[in-house]
């Protein structure tokens, strides 16, 4: 005799449990956590390099970077003086919540303003795993084609920000920016879309503003200042006359 038992359980319920615990910890410490996802070679590490080299002084930032093999990304990112840890998955095509939990050990979340998670290069599997993050961010480089949002709808649906990268290569590839935006919109009506070129340093201000706007939302106690350090050009970053170069020069100057 056989009988069917209704279970109604999430397949990834264990991951969901750990992710919920992480989310609660991040909320308590006020740490903004973003999860960067893209195909291999879309520019996640490069974007992080550009970001880390230009952060305002005093901002406390850390990076967890995932790869199947090697510690190369961690080596690239550690040059900027922020804490960086490599998660080497040894074959697994995504990061899961338990890996994040394990690799946070020893870091004081209370002392972290922003945690960047750089996922394994893959547009499919990372979309299924909640890491307790505030936002998934998907990168789409122009060399990959403007149909990508339609081919990989899951990750474009779940992301709060879509970064179109390597726009300096647009003259050399058959990539229709308007079509890419329309395709992304057909999957996700609310995500922000920002175009960036890390090489030409275009769109980076919009990206940083997006990030700090999220951070600001998390820190109502900062009394209207975007960043608690004060006097940073980021605070007035809405003014169009501050260029990326000026901001970087400001940071570099302060560091001397």
């Amino acid at each position: 005799m056989s009988n069917v038992v209704p279970v109604e359980k999430k397949v990834l319920s264990e991951n969901a449990r750990i992710a919920a615990e992480l989310r609660e910890r991040f909320a308590r410490s006020g740490t903004l956590v973003v999860n960067l996802i893209s195909a291999p070679g879309s520019g996640k590490t490069r974007l992080l390099e550009r970001t880390l080299e230009s952060l305002p002084e005093g901002l406390r930032v850390a990076v967890l970077t995932g790869d199947i093999q090697t510690e190369r990304d961690a080596e690239r990112l550690a040059r900027f003086g922020y804490p960086v840890r490599q998660i080497t998955t040894g074959g697994t095509c995504h990061l899961d919540a338990s890996m994040i939990m394990r690799h946070l050990e020893g870091w004081k979340l209370d002392e972290l303003d922003i945690l960047f998670i750089e996922n394994v290069g893959n547009l499919v599997c990372p979309s299924s795993y909640d890491l307790g993050e505030e936002a998934k961010i998907v990168l789409l480089s122009v060399t990959e084609g403007d149909e990508k949002p339609l081919k990989y709808p899951s990750i474009f649906f779940k992301s709060k920000l879509i970064l179109i990268t390597k726009t300096d290569l647009l003259p050399y590839v058959p990539f229709d920016l308007a079509q890419a935006r329309a395709n992304a919109r057909s999957i996700n009506q609310t995500a922000d879309i920002i175009e960036v070129s890390t090489e030409r340093q275009e769109g980076l201000m919009a990206w940083m503003d997006w990030l700090f706007a999220r951070k600001y939302l998390r820190m109502p106690q900062s009394g209207g200042k975007l960043i608690p350090t004060g006097g940073s050009p980021w605070v007035v970053s809405r003014s169009p006359e501050t260029t990326w170069e000026e901001r970087r020069a400001w940071r570099c100057g302060r560091n001397k």
């Binding site: 005799m1 038992v5 899951s154």
Partner: protein
């Protein structure tokens, strides 16, 4: 790509459910997979069968029902008295 990991999670859940019901064994499991779950049912089936064969759960039937959104749920488990 991560279908094998998902299959492993399903089998773990089946073992947990069976463990709570002495005198029964599982003969089937039903999943609901949303269109946006990012999961290919065929490759999930492949991974599932590879993991079930010669395991303590062999034979175990897999039924997949399509769903909306990002749903990825175990809907039911079929049990048989041993």
């Amino acid at each position: 790509m991560h279908e094998l990991g998902i299959a492993a999670s399903v089998l773990d859940a089946v073992r947990t459910e069976v463990g709570m019901r002495p005198g029964y064994r599982a003969t089937g499991v039903g999943l609901r997979i949303g269109a946006l779950a990012g999961l290919d049912p065929d490759s999930l089936r492949f991974g599932f069968e590879a993991m079930v064969s010669d395991s303590d759960l062999d034979p175990l039937r897999l039924e997949v029902e399509s769903a909306n959104g990002e749903e990825l749920d175990i809907a039911w488990i079929e049990l048989e008295e041993t």
